[in-house]
Amino acid sequence: MSHDDKIDIRKLNIWFGENHVIRDVDLKIQANAVTAIMGPSGCGKSTMLRAFNRMNDVIKSSRTTGDIFICEKNIYESNTNVYDLRRQVGMVFQKPNPLPKSIYENIAFGPKIHKMAKGKALDKIVEKSLSAAALWEEVQDRLTDSAFDLSGGQQQRLCIARALAVDPEVILMDEPCSALDPAATAKIEQLIRTLSNDYTVVIVTHNMQQASRVSDYTVFLYLGKIIEQGETKAIFENPQHELTEQYITGEFG
């Protein structure tokens, strides 16, 4: 594993019951870059993403083999603390899912339960996280308002800020803009680019234009297998595999 690789996936296989969803995936994900995982519905994109912070573990029928190294530590070792792992590998979902609390409490919740800070130090984390998520300017005067009072785009940025508050290494995003309008999407995309300076971002998207706009690297997944991976420019301008070509030009999907 090179120092530039934040995530190293080796021979990953995932089953849900009899359904073999991810098949022998080997992949290295570069640090401080945005990697987009794309592929048709049901190809295993979200399943693969959820393997990075062991969220598939909560599904009883799921079974995982292979190794995933994050920061050179195998997260599938039996002694892995999954709560620490999920702090280290934050996740943003398709629909914004703020907690039924104030804006401040939404951000402070993670650092509090991980006993990272309290008092003024906690206030600083809240401000820093909201600033990093490009939301501070918009909410600094209404931190005690309910998070549900925010617009959809603001709620999604709040969820990103909530993930940032616990000082993660990796941020996973599962179709983070699919429920947002174009203006909110543009803000999130801009934010994703900015975040890649400090974090490793992995994004699952159906929107190929979005993948081409925001990502440095792209992985094309089909029927649970990686068909092609590489620099986004190369994948979108001159894909090497016929299936990739067919998928990105809209011949199937």
């Binding site: 234009q209 979108f236 990739t244 990105i248 030009t249 011949e251």
Partner: protein
């Protein structure tokens, strides 16, 4: 199943094909005039202007396809190639015009030696 972009690509190809035929005709005419010593400058000029005017709608269509369908991979490469070919066909028209202007100013092949001696 046909994709939405396909209709635009077919239209672009057909416009470019027509432009190609005209470019070939224009260059052939000007070379023929030069070799055979025929005055055809006006006709070549008209054809060259037509080629120029055909290029703009092709470029417009290419930009429309890029803006509306955001082509990638082979589609993107084809659109890019069509734009380059379109520019080259327009250039053929200009070169055909240059050849016919040379004939008008300096005469045809038969007068080449004479003119050359005068220059020296």
């Amino acid at each position: 199943m046909k994709r939405l972009i396909d209709a635009g690509m077919e239209q672009l190809a057909s416009m470019l094909f027509r432009m190609g035929e005209l470019a070939q005709k224009t260059v052939s005419l000007s070379i023929m005039n030069y070799i055979e010593g025929t005055h055809g400058h006006t006709q070549v000029n008209t054809l060259s202007d037509t080629l120029s005017s055909m290029a703009d709608p092709i470029e417009d269509t290419a930009f429309e396809i890029i803006a509306r369908f955001q082509p990638v991979a082979s589609d993107l490469r084809i659109v890019k190639s069509y734009m380059k070919i379109c520019y080259d066909f327009r250039r053929y028209g200009r070169y055909a015009l240059d050849i016919s202007q040379i004939y008008e100013r300096l005469g045809g092949m038969g007068e080449c030696d004479l003119v050359f001696r005068k220059i020296i």
